[in-house]
Amino acid sequence: MAAGSALIEAHGLTKHYDGFTLNNVTFSVQAGQVVGFVGQNGAGKSTIIKALLGIIELDAGEARILDAPSAKLAHDARAAAVKEQIGVVFDTVSLPGQLKVGEVGEIMARAYRSWDAQVFEGHLETFGLDAGKTAKALSRGMGMKLGLACALSHHPRVLILDEATAGLDPLARDEVLDMLREFVAAEDERGNPQNAILMSSHITSDLDKIADQIICIDRGEMVFALAKDEITDMMGIARCRAAEVEDVVQSGALVGAQPRMLRHDYGIDLLVPNRFVFAQMYPNIPCDHMTIDDYMAFMLKGSTGLEGANQPDRPQSAISKGDDR
């Protein structure tokens, strides 16, 4: 693969189930990048991950990992070999409960030619996992640690993590995030980044610390795909009174973007694309920095009109890339 090329590509992913449709999801993950998936439960994040791994068949669209078509990963032996370079952690301890931690290591050693038992032992020690304990005896957090230890111990190039930090205590989460940062920072001989991470998480503070891009999925559709820094470093929440909102919207402080607001009992929160410019124009209106959670709330629950209570207006197009905020 060429340097700087996408390690994960998804074009128009579409999948129909009874009562749910994943509709036309498109994104890519470049080498050296951490892409975070956010969205409510049942939004379609796990469906996308399964589609990328070839575990489910798409009704339309195409996905590729490490230049191999995802559709062939579970069916073609040669394509299956690509999975040597993919580390996966699902949101549960995905192992038969009677297996001991040590036996899990044996399974992984049989499954992956590139399995590094020494690295695995190191992770077990770091995470405090007892090789004699069964998978069903592990707490959720310890189970996730085991999953991460497995995913990181066969020298993968791509990590796909589905709620992998859920259940971890704060110290362990910090440790894991450090490992993930180290993983994604790895370079080849020419100094080009060679690894990438796609992670779904409800713990947006983790994505805040590590992600380069945030993709939000809601009811099977992409709501937005933005650079994380654009959200957290540039955007703001203007805490306006009702009387101030119209003036702000008409003043140009929103830099031509469509206004998005959340109405509260005490006032109206207005999404501001550049809080520094806004602060200069309106020094008397408090403007807080934006978090990923806040931006999601604006995009999923916010309205674009001044009339009536908050009635979520979903963007007409599937993706907001920052131009129609």
Partner: protein, 236 residues
């Protein structure tokens, strides 16, 4: 396929150890109850195939193991062939151990005086040996036919409320000829008796053993192909 086989071996290791103890117990009770070890390898083989077929589906459903396994460098085809190969190999190996142990003890009994309870059940002569081989072949055939029907259904549907009862249903089907025989006419019964008499001859035992093994292998291989097609299409 080798990876899938090796992984099945690790997943089933504890189960196999437990089944081994059960098999020793059952085989011993059977030998004492029938007065002979002739049926022991057959019973062990059927126990193991029956148990592993049902348990494999249960393991797949545990904690999303079937989904996680597909994230490993294996194709669905590898998973299916690995399972079929493991169930066959493990059942043959363990029932083979019992068969060899039975032969060994019987040979020992010819030269050494063994405790009466043991001596009574061991193989005594050529007829016993032929019966030993024939019943073992029937056991292999029955076990493999049971697996051949159940495994594709488990790969297609997983363990559901319906498929949960599949192995038991197959055991009932296996026993059904004994119930059906009561309703057969005299001529049919006479023909069956003729066949059974032939099967008790050395030539008949040879034909029956070969037929059992041949049919079971052909059906088992066909079952692999069906299971692969089912599993390739299954949504996990």
């Amino acid at each position: 396929m080798k990876r899938a086989f090796a992984i099945e071996a690790i997943v089933f290791s504890k189960y196999i150890r437990q089944m081994l103890l059960s098999a020793v117990f059952v085989a011993s009770c059977l030998a004492v109850g029938t007065g002979s070890i002739i049926g022991a390898p057959m019973t062990v083989f059927m126990m193991l195939t029956f148990g592993m077929v049902a348990s494999s589906a249960a393991y797949d459903e545990q904690n999303g193991w079937a989904t996680y396994r597909l994230a490993m460098p294996m194709s669905r085809r590898d998973v299916v062939i690995g399972r079929y190969a493991f169930i066959l190999a493990a059942s043959l190996a363990i029932s083979g151990l019992f068969a060899v142990a039975g032969l060994g003890l019987s040979a020992l009994g010819q030269v050494v005086t063994l405790p009466e309870i043991l001596d009574t059940v061991l193989l005594k002569n050529g007829d016993d040996l032929m019966a030993y081989a024939a019943t073992s072949a029937v056991g292999v055939c029955t076990g493999l036919l049971l697996a051949s029907f159940c495994l594709p259904m488990f790969f297609k549907l997983g363990q559901t409320k319906a498929t949960h009862w599949l192995p038991f249903a197959m055991v009932l089907v296996t026993m059904s000829p004994f119930f059906v025989m009561q309703g057969l006419g005299e001529d049919t019964l006479a023909s069956i008796m003729q066949l059974l008499n032939y099967v008790q001859t050395p030539a008949g035992i040879g034909v029956m053993t070969s037929a059992c093994l041949g049919v079971s292998v052909v059906v088992y291989v066909a079952s692999v192909c069906v299971a692969i097609r089912f599993y390739e299409k299954r949504e996990l």
